[in-house]
């Protein structure tokens, strides 16, 4: 009996492959692809306060793009994301190289370095807000005991400083990822390349420039673009750190999207912002990722 049932259900390997993939694929289409298209559909509708009225073409896009918040949001996100990815890559490179060169306690340091990875973005904002606080912040205390400042600095009440702190608080949670990725890349470079370079009299900078960089270029670009993408679209750190302020100095594109949905209940415009955010990310990230994947293979 059992063998008959078994025979009935016997199928080829490739069909089995299709069948096992199917539930996941359906979930992907139903839960991601369909909502994306639905969002595009909503972006062409007049849809306020929970009622969808009518098709209005590109009107939502026109209102969004001509409004001042769009420029502010995209500008803030742009600077913030480039700053974050740049800072995280810079620190990540230093740490990855340092990790590569030690023999004692490598696992110990690697463990310490990856800990910030586990910190929720929302909490990173809260912690750094406390550290950079004006009247009780420890940074102000350290700077004034060193004699560098005369009175406490309101880091989060001045536009450029607040954006800088936001970049630090965000780079903080991404440094472990970049360090690990670059470190993994460094280990694929054969040691004798460096040895023969040393024999030829190359110094550390030359070794980095002529050996590490060309051979590790793709990992670095890839790590950079991933952190860039996350920072450009995710407003969580900024939200808990400054709430977009002072004024709108740290008004991240994601906060603009959140406000349109949550405070102004304008779903049509919210959808348009969502589409624009997705397009901005995809247009920039796709070519870079394809380039690094192709480069990484050859």
């Amino acid at each position: 009996m059992w063998s008959k049932v078994k025979n009935f259900f016997s199928i080829s390997d490739s069909i089995y492959g299709v069948i096992t993939t199917l539930p996941g694929l359906i979930a992907l289409v139903a839960l991601i692809i369909y909502p994306v298209f639905y969002n595009i559909f909503v972006s062409f509708q007049k849809y306020e306060f929970g009622s969808m009225d009518k098709f209005i073409g590109l009107q939502n896009y026109v209102s969004v793009v001509t409004g001042s918040d769009f420029l502010i949001g995209w500008r803030v996100s742009g600077i913030y994301s480039l700053g974050t990815a740049g800072l995280a890559l810079f620190v990540g490179l230093i740490l990855a190289h340092a990790l590569k060169r030690i023999n004692v306690a490598r696992g110990f340091f690697r463990t310490l370095i990856i800990i910030p990875w586990a910190v929720p973005a929302i909490l990173s904002g809260i912690m750094w807000k406390w550290i950079f606080g004006k009247s009780l912040g420890v940074v102000n205390y350290v700077l004034s005991s060193l004699g560098l400042i005369e009175s406490n600095v309101g880091f989060l009440s001045q536009g450029a400083l607040a954006l800088t702190v936001a970049i630090i608080a965000t780079a903080y949670i991404h440094i472990p990822f970049i360090t690990i990725l670059v470190h993994a890349g460094l280990q694929t470079i054969p040691e004798d390349l460096y040895e023969s370079a040393s024999i030829d009299g190359a110094d550390e900078f030359q070794k980095f420039w002529y050996i590490t960089l060309p051979l590790n270029k793709f990992q670095m670009i890839f790590a950079f673009i991933i952190v860039w993408m996350f920072s450009f679209r995710t407003p969580d750190v900024v939200f808990s750190l400054t709430g977009g302020g002072p004024g709108k100095a740290t008004y991240h594109a994601g906060l603009y999207l959140k406000d349109e949905i949550y405070h102004f209940l304008d779903y049509g415009q919210g959808a348009a912002i969502g589409v624009l955010l997705a397009l901005s990310v995809i247009i920039i990230v796709t070519p870079v990722v394809l380039y690094t994947i192709r480069g990484g293979r050859s």
Binding site: M127, D203, K258
Partner: protein, 289 residues
């Protein structure tokens, strides 16, 4: 001109000496680790101070008035305890679903080749490029139409959406490293494909699956904005939303706030410390954040 060149050369040689000195990497690692751990230390430090000491200037680097009052207050007078339970449920359910379906999906297209399998795999990667932020709105609309507004299920579904593509992409790396000969010999031994998965494949890829589970759990645990937008009863908030409301509700009482912060960071930190090898390997194989 030659003086300038000589100076530059001297700077460069000195810098080279400093960098190539054996002790330098250790100094760098010690100082950078200190900076990276400082925010967590500072949060911990504040969480053990009484409120007068928190408001004192200069701030003390070690609590002079050691107390666990802030933890008691956080757990007793705020819903943070309930929030922790909620987060466990949300992140746990999402992880269970993502890992079971993810393993099945990945097993299908990596081990049993079919015509479009690479395109399917690439489809999972491509959806990673869609910002989750662009999904907030459609999901809020769907949920309100389907009667899922302000529901726990709604949170779990969104967490699955967030993590599923990454999980599959990471698992793919692990499964593709699996030696196919073992599949063939299991087949010769008469094992069914499901038995092959459970008894032959899973034991080998277990570290990778473990890493994916931990990462999915943590990313779900850390998710903030969607539950913030979507839920409106504090009894259903996950920890991240709970702690955010802590700021407003109490006029930023840093004592209980930092105590709650420690409570919500701790599971992640412990996971990362104990499973870091597998997480690192899993991510290196998936090569995607």
């Amino acid at each position: 001109m030659s003086l300038l060149k000589a100076t530059i050369r001297w700077i460069r040689e000195t810098a080279d000496k400093i960098i190539s000195w054996r002790g330098t990497p250790y100094i760098i690692l010690v100082s950078f680790s200190a900076v990276l751990l400082f925010p967590i230390y500072w949060t911990l430090n504040t969480s053990f101070k009484v409120s007068n000491e928190i408001k004192a200037w200069p701030p003390s680097f070690i609590p002079q008035s050691f107390t666990i009052e802030n933890y008691v207050e956080a757990l007793r007078f705020s819903p943070i305890g309930q929030n922790i339970l909620n987060s466990l449920i949300y992140a746990g359910s999402a992880t269970a679903f993502v890992v079971v379906i993810g393993v099945l999906t990945t097993y299908g297209f990596t081990i049993y080749d079919y015509k479009w399998d690479n395109k399917v795999a690439f489809g999972f990667l491509a959806t990673r490029l869609i910002p989750p932020q662009a999904l907030w709105l459609p999901f809020i609309i769907f949920y309100s139409r389907m009667g899922l507004a302000n529901s726990r299920g709604g949170v779990v579904i969104f967490l699955i959406v967030l993590n599923y593509p990454l999980a599959v992409w990471m698992l793919r790396g692990t499964f593709e490293a699996f030696p196919k000969e073992l599949i063939d010999s299991a087949k010769v031994d008469g094992a069914s494909r499901l038995q092959t998965l459970l008894r032959v494949v899973l034991p080998v890829v277990a570290p990778g699956v473990g890493a994916v589970s931990i990462i999915t759990f943590l990313w779900s645990w850390n998710e903030f904005m969607f539950p913030f937008l979507f839920l409106n009863s504090p009894g259903k908030y996950p920890v991240t939303v709970g702690i955010y409301h802590f700021i407003g509700d109490l006029g930023t009482k840093w004592g209980p706030l930092t105590a709650s912060g420690m409570l919500i960071m701790l599971p992640g930190i412990i996971f990362f410390i104990f499973a870091q090898r597998y997480i690192v390997e899993g991510l290196a194989e998936g090569a995607v954040d």
